[in-house]
């Protein structure tokens, strides 16, 4: 009897460990009768650092917000094979630093501690263990010396790291970051990108929106090219073909000047045939 139960337990464990860290199935987002994203499906494994690229209005932020359940969408979002519950610690969010209320007076530690609030539940105050997790998170982003400082006094890059620490204090398996390297200088971008690499090496899955197209291949394991639908998903070297880039960014972006460009405009989800170029698990077909 006990043996059967433990066998079942082992089967269950292996089933969940085989499931991708994050799986999105046939996600559709409509807003004001306009299609924002249509039929997006992909899988992300643990330890993967994934860049989400696409032009303004491509649906990058919408994808993140839909995964978080902040905007209505249809389709399925599975974390480690299970549907995401409200108040789940598993998926954490790092906002664009411009999106928070900067007049709010708070110390760095106060902000990081906020990452614990959702899990604490109603009427519970942060305890010693929560403070310890917050301080550990600050150490991970190398901001432990700034704990007592006012958040408003920090530079943009330092603020970005504090918000990353807040997400880490939540002890998530999946991190969703909205434009973490925007509005900071190039050395700071490098610091943050290396930090993201460290975090993914530790086993977490990171999805990062960015409109910086330099050095994508060095920093990301996979790229998710969006323009109202999923244009391509795979390793940067496989994805960053002229065809995919042009389908993602349209005519406006010229990476390689060429007379024989093939223009593949993606309009309102009418681009499903492009997905066959690259498999959903990120491996390239060709």
């Amino acid at each position: 009897m006990a043996a059967v139960a433990s066998q079942a337990h082992i089967r269950l464990q292996s089933a969940t460990s085989l499931a991708p860290a994050l799986e999105v199935r046939q996600l559709n987002i409509r807003y004001d009768q306009r299609t924002v994203l249509s039929d997006v499906s992909f899988q992300a494994q643990s330890s993967q650092l994934i860049g989400i690229i696409g032009p303004n209005g491509a649906g990058k932020t919408s994808l993140i917000k839909a995964i978080l359940g902040l905007i209505p969408s249809t389709g399925q979002i599975l974390v480690a094979g299970q549907a995401l519950a409200k108040r789940s610690r598993k998926v954490a969010y790092v906002p664009q630093i411009s999106a928070v209320n900067w007049r709010f007076p708070a110390s760095v530690r106060d902000v990081v501690l906020m990452g614990r609030y959702g899990q604490l539940g109603w009427l519970r105050r942060p305890k010693k263990a929560d403070y310890a997790l917050a301080d550990a998170a600050l150490e991970q982003v190398n901001m432990q010396d700034f704990a007592e400082r006012s958040i408003a006094d920090l530079s943009g890059g330092q603020q970005q790291r504090v918000f990353l620490a807040r997400a880490l204090a939540q002890e998530p398996d999946v991190l969703l970051l909205d434009e973490p390297i925007s509005g900071v200088d190039v050395p700071t971008q490098e610091v943050i990108l290396h930090l993201l690499r460290d975090l993914s090496s530790a086993g977490r899955t990171l999805l990062v929106t960015t409109h910086h197209l330099q050095h994508l291949e060095h920093h990301f394991d996979a790229l998710l090219c969006l323009n109202q639908c999923l244009i391509a998903y795979g390793p940067p070297t496989a994805v960053m073909t002229r065809e995919v880039v042009e389908a993602t960014f349209g005519r406006s972006l010229v990476l390689v000047p060429s007379a024989e460009r093939i223009i593949l405009d993606c309009n309102h989800g009418n681009c499903t045939e492009k997905q066959t170029l690259i498999n959903r698990d990120g491996s390239a077909n060709n």
Binding site: R87, Y93, V100, M114, Y117, D153, S155, Q158
Partner: protein
């Protein structure tokens, strides 16, 4: 009122029961408004706070005509107007600001219309618009203690949720907090606070009780909880100054003297406080990444 030396001047007004009650009521209201005001200021809700005060007017008039509890009548109309604002913005393309402007002026006009049908119109109108804290009865004091205490308990209980929503609404929602519910809860707390304060401070001035202490604190403090502590202390001080000023200078409404005290403290701190991002900023900003 006449007095001989400093301590005598302090003690003389307190020999009268109405002044004792007024001082206690003013301090309690001052503290309550300052605590709620910290959230109001940081969420840019001052216009809504002012609107709620004006919109509660018809409720206050009807309640006083019928001999009901003034705070209850005002609260009903205040909350109804807040819901009405939401209804208008959902139904039409009218912006939030405009909907508030339309409704609060309309409700205020309704209050004046109703009051003008009553005798002793001018005297009552002045009492409601500018407040009359010396008219606070023992039962009003109990209302302030009960309702104010309840609001402070709710804020203490939901402190971390309200803080997270105020600082970063998206992150609050991402962590699974019901931000819509918390927003309406805060609006209701505001409406009730405003109505409790109206009788002593007056409809026209009550917004200053919410906004000025928190605004003053924001010039100095670096933490949210110290903003609340600063506001409460300022609420206590301004209430005390205001009550004594109106006790010694004939005919000065207490609402006016309390709000003037708040404004004076604000201006004083504004002049004395280190200028934001100036000298202090030079030394603190941009320590190497």
């Amino acid at each position: 009122m006449k007095c001989t030396d400093f301590w005598n001047c302090v003690v003389v007004p307190l020999q009268f029961a109405p002044t004792q009650r007024a001082l206690l009521a003013a301090i309690l209201i001052g503290i309550l408004c300052s605590v709620v005001g910290a959230f109001v200021v940081l969420q840019d809700l001052s216009f809504i706070g002012d609107a709620l005060a004006h919109a509660s007017f018809p409720g206050v008039v009807i309640a006083s005509m019928l001999g009901w509890n003034i705070a209850l009548g005002g609260a009903i109309f205040g909350v109804a107007t807040a819901l009405g604002v939401g209804w208008i913005t959902r139904r039409s393309k009218v912006s939030l600001d405009t909907a508030i402007g339309v409704l609060f002026a309309g409700m205020f006009a309704l209050g004046i219309f109703l009051l003008s049908r009553d005798r002793g119109y001018n005297k009552e109108l002045f009492g409601l618009l500018l407040g009359d804290i010396l008219a606070v009865r023992q039962s009003d004091l109990w209302t302030i203690v009960g309702v104010g205490g309840l609001i402070l308990v709710v804020i203490a209980a939901l402190y971390k949720e309200l803080v997270l929503m105020t600082f970063d609404r998206t992150a609050a929602a991402a962590q699974g907090l019901p931000v819509g519910f918390l927003h309406y809860l805060l609006l209701s707390i505001m409406a009730i606070t405003v109505v409790v304060a109206i009788q002593s401070i007056g409809i026209v001035l009550v917004v200053a009780m919410l906004v000025t202490p928190a605004a003053t604190a924001s010039l100095v403090v670096r933490r949210f909880w110290s903003m609340i502590v600063w506001g409460s202390v300022q609420g206590l001080i301004a209430a005390t100054i205001g009550i004594y000023v109106s006790a010694y200078i004939d005919g000065v409404p207490t609402g006016s003297s309390i709000v003037l005290a708040h404004t004076a403290i604000f201006l004083l701190v504004l002049v004395l406080a280190p200028r934001k991002n100036a000298l202090a900023g030079l030394f603190q900003r941009k320590v190497a990444d």
